[in-house]
Amino acid sequence: MDVTVEGMLSSSPSLFFNRLMSVYGPVVKIHPVVLASIGDSYERRNEGASRVIGTLLGTIDKHSVEVTNCFSVPHNESEDEVAVDMEFAKNMYELHKRVSPSEVIVGWYATGFEITEHSVLIHEYYSREATNPIHLTMDTALQSGKMNIRAYLSAQMGVLGKTVGVMFTPLSVKYKYYDTERIGIDLLERTRDAPNTTNGLTSDLCQVGGAAGRVQDMLATVLTYIEDVLSGKQTADNSVGRYLMDLVNKVPKITAEDFETMLNSNINDLLMVTYLSNLTQAQIALNEKIVVL
């Protein structure tokens, strides 16, 4: 009696359906910390559990739902019944509310590829907690080779009065980062490239060097593209051309003397500050030695 669109989806290629992703319903903006949390709770699941579920917290806007936090909820699932620890969910929500009072329950998540019948029941519970909850699935078992992070909204369907069912309509998923989050993610991305998956935090000048290296790589890519276009290997794209024009215009035009003065004054400032801080450090070291005498 419960029909899910997911069943229909599994046959069609996901790329085609992504294009069709309806604009009905809010856009879901997810922060990376939520996904990392879900992955972590999946790794820590109990023996025998095939998936984990949990609550999503965040803020609701007019056209979007921003998911900023989550916590996992213990549950038991078997062939014919499902039990979710509601008390636990309520308690955890209270505790979380103490820290960030602006976060509300916006939905729930489940790992796994499909939406099962049990999901419908759980979704019903969550509709009591929040208006129009969203359901997020993340395929941590990588059944299709990808993680397939999807979000759904439930809608009633069927003939009024007679067989009523629930349909999960997909929503478009975007990722939202704070600036600092993006920097954190950059660092994490760099750790995954190391063979042993561990990495220390580099220090000062190495970081500048690294950043400069990255810009250099990007410039190299742009240059190869331009050369390809010039030699006719690739057709020129006007929008890219406009971006390139913007890029070139952004370099400020400064006369040599002005630049010299700017550079020198900046360098002088920095050198003076370095000198002062060294002096201060020497001073306090001296002070300590004198006191100990």
């Binding site: 820590r44 960030s100 660092l187 220390g200 935090l201 000062d204 970081q207 950043a211 630049f259 050198l271």
Partner: protein, 344 residues
Amino acid sequence: MATRKETPSTPTAPMASTSPGATLDSPVKQIQIEGLVVLKMIKHYQEEGQGSEVVQGVLLGLVVEDRLEITNCFPFPQHTEDDADFDEVQYQMEMMRSLRHVNIDHLHVGWYQSTYYGSFVSRALLDSQFSYQHAIEESVVLIYDPIKTAQGSLSLKAYRLTPKLMEICKEKDFSAEGLKKAMIGFEHMFEEVPIVIKNSHLINVLMWELEEKCTVADKHELLNLSSSNHLEKSLQLLMDRVDDMSQDIVKYNTYSRNLSKQQQQKHQYIQRRQQENAQRQTRGETPLPEEDVSKMFKPPQPPPRMDTLLIAGQINNYCQNVKEFTSQNLGKLFMAEALQGHNS
């Protein structure tokens, strides 16, 4: 489960330096953090920390040989005035109990705090870290610097109190003599523990997916040339601290001057007494009773040295940060010069 090592803290333990990589005389030689913890800390500061300056939270994890693995964390709510009866301990206990249900490591291994331009060396931090380290041998405090992070690279440092400082805090002997005995300098208050970030394979897969799906452009804050704002603020804080320090020094100077003056007075008084006694003896009278000199001249209170130590440590920290910042900026300026020279 976690293995806890009990290292006896002897007063003659060798001093630990603050440079990471040197041999640390502590049960924890390295810290391994999961990416999840980093993201949670960033999010916590971003959402709740904009008003006040400091956000705090608890670190959970376990100890594996000489490594401290931090696998999860949860934030602490702010101290608000209208929440007077808020029970922190209860919040913590409930949180840890609930996390145990979902198989998250519920062992307390430390705490984290955000900092404003590197000003975290304070009495409060010392006390908190002391009580943590006293209860749990391997605990650390993670200092997250959001402003430095926003400038381009994650700034996360882990600190522990050196065994010497632990000794002093235990005895609560903060006077000058106590510190002199222990030979503690401001550089030996905290020891920094090196950090590595480790992610499980599943999280690594997630990172790959995010990278290809996410279209947030890289902003390259690290290559930003403007420095005056940051320098100004850092120098302002440094100046304030140096002012505090100089006041402290003045206090100490007056104290030592008073002390020496008093010594002189004592000497004179004793001498006069002796002279009088000698005179009286020659005249055949009974000598005056020996009065308790120390009661008459009460020695002045020596000023507490702990604050000075903390201020010195803080100044040292500021200077280090400023130097790091200037070295980076010098590099960037020279790079800009090279590019400009190339163009013209």
